[in-house]
């Protein structure tokens, strides 16, 4: 088993054994969606679809911040991060494994969010929701890439919990714009080629941030 698989497997194993991250993320998404239903009181039809798409992405952003923080902080108990840094493990591979773990947590939470969204916003479980799924996954990947890198920074600063949302939200704006637009279009029944430009933006965003994280993680992972 290579190192990447070993670290990812360990994180997923720890999660299954009572990490409670996916539960926490799912719960947070649920709460966010409930708040937004009261905030916007959406009707059905196209207005409902647009509101639903927006709500889903708000839930994605909030649960994503929690997910990335947990994936990174999992190494804080007993100083395991130091052990990983001392091992032959490549820092970039460590980033990739943490990113993958955060992505898995987010994907599970997003699946739950989509179900809740359909229920709360009076939509139907049909092909339109299916067409939205890859958009959400791309968004989750981009946010996981961004947030894993930033969480490595915020987790090392006293009172740093503010830093993650402060930096992650403005940086995520391009993917947020593209993701909400594409999701709203998909839910409204638009064909795939209308979504194409937004999906390209999402894909470019993902590529840029995964690469940036991969190259820069080693500079934030070390100690003083």
């Amino acid at each position: 088993m290579n190192s990447f698989a070993a670290v990812l497997r360990k994180d997923l194993l720890l999660e299954v054994r009572g990490g409670q991250s996916t539960v926490a993320l799912g719960a947070l998404s649920l709460l966010v969606l409930v708040v937004l239903v009261f905030a916007f009181d959406p009707g059905g039809g196209e207005q409902g679809a647009a509101a639903a798409a927006g709500a889903l992405w708000v839930a994605l952003v909030f649960s994503g911040m929690l997910g990335a923080t947990r994936a990174v902080s999992a190494e804080n108990e007993n100083g395991c991060l130091r052990a990983l840094l001392m091992s032959p493990l490549d820092r970039a591979v460590l980033y990739a494994a943490k990113l993958a773990a955060a992505f898995v947590f987010m994907a599970v939470a997003e699946a739950a969010s989509i179900v809740l969204m359909v229920l709360f916003f009076n939509l139907d479980f049909d092909a339109r929701v299916m067409r939205m799924a890859p958009v959400v996954l791309l968004g989750a990947l981009g946010f996981a890439a961004l947030a894993t890198l930033l969480a490595a920074i915020s987790s090392r600063l006293r009172g740093g919990e503010l830093i993650l949302p402060l930096l992650a939200v403005p940086m995520f704006v391009p993917a947020l714009i593209a993701g909400v637009k594409a999701s709203a279009l998909a839910l409204g029944g638009s064909p795939l080629d209308e979504l194409a430009v937004w999906i390209k933006v999402l894909a470019a965003f993902d590529a840029i941030f995964v690469a940036a994280g991969y190259l820069l993680f080693e500079y934030v992972a070390g100690e003083e």
Partner: protein, 234 residues
């Protein structure tokens, strides 16, 4: 004396203006053992962190295998083992799973078998599948020692290796350290008192006010046999 595996040259560290360590010079060659004793807060853990490459020096050099410890290549990091006062163990994994994980990271052939073997060597075979969360402090320390040594490192750094170990545990640890040194491993250890380490033939130095000074006379006498392999470089 052959090229030292662990070396500090005019090493110093400051957090803020006041220095925690200053003008530290030491070297340990293959098969040698150096013990650094000092009170709490004297800087022993900081020294080990610097030499392990976890922290960057403010002055001077911390070197392993002749290379800067901070930027050690992965191939060389594979040959370094660290025992810290933090256990580096995942509480929700079993002892076997913890060792297997690290064995995989260190590229050990047949991680599963190696992990099982080392569990036996530290007398934790019976607790192989128990979660580390339920371990006593002594069991944790033994497992942490196994973790540090399972890749058969050429450099071993032990921060208070005998802490939390009872008589049997301490004897086990001593035997493992002796065996490592005899196969050419360079060992640097920190402790409150020189006793168990001097008995293993370690040279002993004391850390006081950030500087390394000669240890108490009787400890130095006991370490005379191993002294040529580990010394304070003046």
């Amino acid at each position: 004396m052959t090229a030292p595996l662990i070396e500090a040259r005019a090493l110093g560290k400051s957090f803020g203006p006041a220095p925690v360590l200053r003008e530290v010079n030491l070297s340990v060659a293959a098969g040698g053992g150096l013990a650094v004793v000092g009170a709490n807060g004297a800087g022993k853990s900081t020294l080990i962190r610097l030499l392990a490459g976890l922290s960057a020096p403010s002055f001077g050099d911390a070197m392993l295998f002749g290379e800067a410890a901070r930027t050690l290549a992965p191939a060389l990091r594979r040959r370094v083992g660290l025992l810290s006062h933090q256990s580096f163990l995942y509480p929700n994994l079993s002892a076997q799973e913890n060792l297997e994980f690290y064995a995989t990271l260190y590229g050990v052939e047949d991680a599963r078998k190696t992990a099982a073997l080392w569990l036996e060597r530290v007398a934790l075979g019976a607790a192989a599948d128990a979660r580390v969360r339920g371990f006593s402090r002594g069991m944790e320390q033994r497992l942490a020692l196994a973790r540090a040594m399972l890749a058969r490192p050429d450099v071993l750094m032990l921060d208070e290796p005998f802490a939390a170990l009872d008589g049997d545990g301490a004897a086990l640890a001593a035997a493992l350290v002796r065996e490592a040194m005899s196969r050419g491993c360079a060992v640097l250890a920190s402790a409150h008192s020189a006793e168990p380490l001097a008995a293993l033939g370690f040279a002993v130095l004391a850390l006081a006010r950030g500087k390394l000074v000669r240890a108490e006379p009787d400890a130095a006498r006991q370490s005379a046999a191993r002294a040529p392999l580990a010394r304070q470089v003046s």
